[in-house]
Amino acid sequence: MFWRRRERPAEPQVPAEPDVAPVAPTAPEPEPVAAPPMTVARPRREAGGMGLRGRPSGLGARLRSVFGAGTTATDETWDEVEEALIAADVGGPATLELVDAARERFRAAGGRSGEDARRALATEIRDRLARVGSGRFELGPAPSVILFVGVNGTGKTTTIAKLAHRLLAEGHSVALAAADTFRAAAVEQLRIWGEQLGVSVIAQRAGADPGAVAFDAVAAAESRNLDAMLVDTAGRLQNKQQLMDELSKIRRVIQRRLPDQPRHVLLVLDATTGQNGLLQAEAFSREAGVTGIVLTKLDGTAKGGVALAAADRLGVPIVFAGVGEEVDALAPFDPEAFVEWLFAE
């Protein structure tokens, strides 16, 4: 049984950092992939701008009623704006800050109408997003190692496939690394994607040391001079310190071989996540040095407002938005479109 599940290290056990980098198996035996691993395609849903599909009952509609043409902005207007932002998971403190700042803008600009208020809020959100960086994703000189981190079930593996697809389409050389050696069938999931995309997947058996996989990945990226090596990691809840330590170790293993890597550490954040998203952002930044946020599952009704608060708090940009099941459903994050999405009808 090569997939036997490895128990995660017990609580007090801090993973020892090897003095010598873990030795990669000389010939990583190719694992037999049973049956043709393709999956059934889902029925495709039609998409709007940046792939975002507005919902009639979303924040946009609420704000539209608040900001109705010709209305005069009152305290009540702002209360409703506050509520709408809360409903979009922006969170209490961030909402209050945003609304205060928007009101200040509104006053300074001599605003009167609901539309003026809407514009003040939109400008405030845009400015805040712009302040933390453009969010444009630059690969940089080869090789680039990109580490994907996040809690369980946010869509790390799917996002990797989508980004690989995107980079391939831009003509880059890409490989994937399966450093999620923990979750059942996580390696297989990445392998299937590798096969579908026609890129190689660096993997060891399930249960292997993720640091060793990361080491292999860096070695492969270097020796093949790949433009991008996308490293998948196991989902982990940010309050589990020994698992977070494992993540910093993966990071160090990469850094030891290539000091200016990983170039990108992308936090994959689920748009349906509520205020815990802030704790996630803080912890993963601390342990893994997050450089950008990928906001996934924006094709539902959840607005992903916590990403706004997280980006603002950590000073890192949102770089991509996951907007569907399809492999091409990953859009570079566009603050303008996001504000539109928040206001969409």
Binding site: M1, R5, I86, A87, A88, D89, T154, K297
Partner: protein, 445 residues
């Protein structure tokens, strides 16, 4: 970063110190904090509104309970209402039919496959023979994942070749379960968005074919404001019977459970904790309520006070204090009540923000100071306890000898008692003794 409700209410509690009745403005301030705390816990804002309305109704005109400050009482009202909303009784799986079908549904990444395996472990422990059916035909390696989990826990997994439609996997799974004499079939389905009509239709067709006796909606504890809409959408299309709240080993407050329960009436069946296959717990409403509020031990404190304070005794003391007749006798009976509640440091430590005082109180107990205070009071005559002002030099010497202390200690206690009486006069607007205040003054040095 997230403040607990009790620490949020602390400012209000301090302002209310000594007040016997909560004014409308005080209540408004408290309710504002409650609202923020619930929103931080990801309770849906509409649910919060209704909920806060109900709290207001209950808090208005509530008599203050002995020994609890108004802030704590509000916390208690909130807690009780939360428990009531979450539902007191446990949800027992209804396993009708042979096989009884349990269908797992939910958004992507909520933890359906892991929960399916955990449920199988649980049912096997209860002597059932569950068959796992892998009908997530969309996510790459989802079937492998269930097969591997089944292998770990020693449960059979029904799969069909790649390319088989989910409905067919489910139908053939049911047939296989019948043939192989499984009494339960756990059907894993692909994660899907509630607004994805085609995918929701698929679930409706599967449900119509296998007629589940339980349809469990698997919800991530970290879910934010959308939880209600998601649950309503699944509930509207499918005969959902209960919730499983997953990733409860994280530090999310889990307000989604309250939101969904309030909006749909669906009971929480299980809580998923951890990635091990035994991490599935039955649901306890009070524990979740405390978690949503981030209340720590405040409730056990509240309950202990309720259990141990002799209401009539406390009211008598209050009456006396109001009439400015609070004596050393009353004080001793207060001390006795506090002692009944258990180790005092632990007790005071349960009061949010009282860490420093807890240290001082514990020290007083450890150093035997508390016992000495009692001994001193016990060595007084009833007359002396009622009228301490009659205790002059010779009485002091007698009391010191009788209690095995020194006249200096007797002097200190008397002096502090006088100060305490003065303080109580200052709180003349209040009807009730502030245990913490009086005791704090005595333990001050």
């Amino acid at each position: 970063m997230f403040e607990s409700l009790s620490s949020r209410l602390q400012g209000i509690t301090q302002r209310l110190r000594g007040k016997a009745r909560i004014t409308e403005a005080d209540l408004d301030a408290a309710l504002r904090e409650i609202r923020l705390a619930l929103l931080e816990a990801d309770v849906n804002f509409k649910v919060v509104k209704e909920f806060v309305g109900r709290i207001r109704e209950q808090a208005v005109g509530t008599d203050l309970l002995t020994g609890l400050n108004p802030g704590q009482q509000i916390v208690k009202i909130v807690h009780d209402e939360l428990v009531a909303t979450l539902g007191g009784e446990r949800h027992h799986l209804g396993l009708d039919g042979r096989p009884a079908v349990i269908m797992m549904v939910g958004l992507q990444g909520s933890g359906k496959t892991t929960t399916a395996a955990k449920l199988a472990v649980r049912l096997r422990r209860e002597g059932k023979r569950p068959l796992l059916v892998a009908a997530d035909v969309y996510r790459p390696a989802a079937v492998d994942q269930l097969v591997q989990l089944g292998d770990q826990i020693g449960a059979e997994v029904h799969t069909r070749p790649v390319g088989t439609p989910a409905l067919e996997v489910a139908r053939s799974g049911l047939e296989a379960a019948r043939q192989r004499n499984h009494d339960v079939m756990i059907l894993d389905t692909a994660g899907r968005l509630h607004v994805d009509e085609a995918m929701m239709d698929e679930l409706v067709r599967i449900s119509g074919t296998v007629t589940p006796s339980e349809t469990l909606l698997v919800v991530d504890a970290m879910t934010g404001q959308e939880s209600v809409r998601v649950a309503e959408a699944f509930h509207a299309r499918l005969p959902v019977t209960g919730l499983v709240l997953t990733k409860m080993d994280g530090d999310a407050r889990g307000g989604a459970a309250l939101s969904i329960r309030a909006a749909t009436g669906l009971p929480v069946a299980f809580l998923g904790t951890g990635e091990r296959t035994d991490g599935l717990e039955p649901f306890h409403p009070d524990r979740l309520a405390q978690r949503i509020l981030g209340m720590g031990d405040i409730l056990s404190f509240v309950e202990r006070v309720q259990e141990n304070v002799d209401r009539e005794e406390a009211e008598r003391a209050a009456q006396r204090m109001m009439e400015n007749r609070f004596t050393l006798e009353d004080f001793r009976s207060q001390l006795n009540q506090i002692k009944k509640m258990g180790p005092i440091g632990q007790l005071v430590g349960m009061i949010p923000g009282a860490g420093a005082m807890a240290g001082a109180a514990q020290e007083a107990v450890d150093s035997g100071q508390m016992t000495r205070i009692e001994a001193i009071i016990d060595s007084m005559t009833p007359e002396e306890r009622r009228r301490p002002e009659i205790i002059k030099a010779s009485r002091r010497r007698r009391i010191a000898l009788g209690s095995g202390t020194s006249t200096a200690e007797v002097n200190r206690l008397l002096k502090q008692f006088v100060e305490m009486q003065k303080m109580m006069k200052m709180l003349s607007g209040g009807k009730l003794p502030r245990m913490g205040g009086g005791l704090g003054a005595l333990l001050g040095r």
